[in-house]
């Protein structure tokens, strides 16, 4: 799946997330460009990115920053450490 994310760095939040099928890569890229052009001249903090993953859940694991607050990220870091297995 392809995900078009409009993220606001200042707020630390996703403004808009749109999903596309794997076969819609070109349409998704068009949508990204259209959004970037729409945001030209707007105040800073906007980030537009196109990401791909097997599922939204998979994306949430590899790009957590877009989906979680600093607090929950740090807290889950603590849980990750606690859950580390002995090698």
């Amino acid at each position: 799946m392809i995900f078009l994310i409009h993220y606001n760095r200042t707020a630390g939040e996703i403004v808009k997330l749109k999903e596309f099928d794997d076969s819609e890569r070109s349409i998704a890229a068009d949508a990204r460009l259209a959004l970037e052009l729409e945001l030209v001249g707007k105040k800073d903090g906007n980030e537009v990115c196109l990401l791909e993953a097997r599922s939204k859940e998979a994306l949430r694991l590899t790009h957590r920053r877009y989906f979680e607050s600093l607090r929950t990220l740090t807290a889950s870091g603590s849980s990750t450490v606690a859950a580390l297995d002995k090698p």
Partner: protein
């Protein structure tokens, strides 16, 4: 009206290297004009076939499940151009993907497999010499001049990177490159060093599984693990107290 599809690489010839580097100069100076964003979009799309090939090889041959970023975001690209004296055509991570693995021995195995899977690669190992705390291995595959970066991170390296990115959103991206709020930088560096210590011992254990010193090393690792967890818990309290943080 703008016809976006007309800018796909199949619909128009790829701009010359000189034109792309001039575009990079304009983006560096800013602010970005609409015409520049359209040219940039065409350039980024030209990495599509190489990117797709890399992801397919990782999925089919290595049986891994990467998350991809077919094209670096404009913000990241402009920040990189401003930060480094680099031409746009020299940027190696226009297209890329990310693989998160359990630990360092697995990371080494994946990096080796990636090196074997692609005809031409260069490896940037940021574990020994971290970039302001950032530790990972980047495998850069070259497909006829189109570079695709594969980030291979362990779970702990990834945890650190995600927290660092989030801090960069709040305090500014200079946090990731040695600038910005000192307290945050110190915290990130301390966590990175402790994670490095943990992973170093993890690697030793994997190599010395029959050694009598295993218990001794394991005790050391448990202490390191406790240290990371304690510091993260302290940081949660700090975050809670922080004024102005927008959750």
């Amino acid at each position: 009206m703008l016809k976006l599809g007309a800018h796909s690489p199949t619909a128009m010839a790829e701009p010359s290297k000189t034109k792309i580097d001039r575009l990079g100069d304009r983006l560096r100076k800013g602010p970005a004009e609409k015409s520049d964003l359209i040219t940039l979009d065409g350039y980024r799309r030209s990495f599509g076939p190489a990117y797709e090939q890399v992801v397919q090889i990782i999925r089919d041959q290595l049986k891994l499940n990467p998350s991809g970023r077919p094209a670096k975001s404009t913000n990241s690209l402009v920040e990189k151009l401003k930060r480094e004296s680099i031409r746009l055509t020299q940027v190696q991570d226009i297209a890329g993907c990310r693989v998160v693995v359990r630990n360092v021995p697995e990371q080494d195995r994946v990096v080796e497999s990636l090196s074997d899977a692609f005809p031409s690669v260069s490896i940037v190992d940021r574990r020994e010499k971290p970039s302001y705390g950032y530790r990972a291995v980047h495998v850069i595959a070259d497909f006829a001049g189109k570079m695709v970066e594969v980030q291979v991170r362990t779970e702990l390296q990834h945890m650190w990177a995600e927290i660092s990115e989030k801090y960069a959103d709040i305090y500014g991206s200079e946090i990731k490159y040695g600038g910005g709020e000192e307290k945050v930088r110190e915290f990130l560096e301390m966590i990175s060093e402790t994670v490095a210590g943990y992973e170093e011992n993890e690697l030793v254990i994997s190599k010395l599984t029959k050694s009598n010193r295993i218990e001794e090393i394991q005790e050391k690792m448990d202490l390191l693990k406790k240290k990371i967890a304690t510091r993260l818990d302290e940081e949660i309290e700090f975050v809670d107290r922080m004024k102005g943080e927008k959750e």
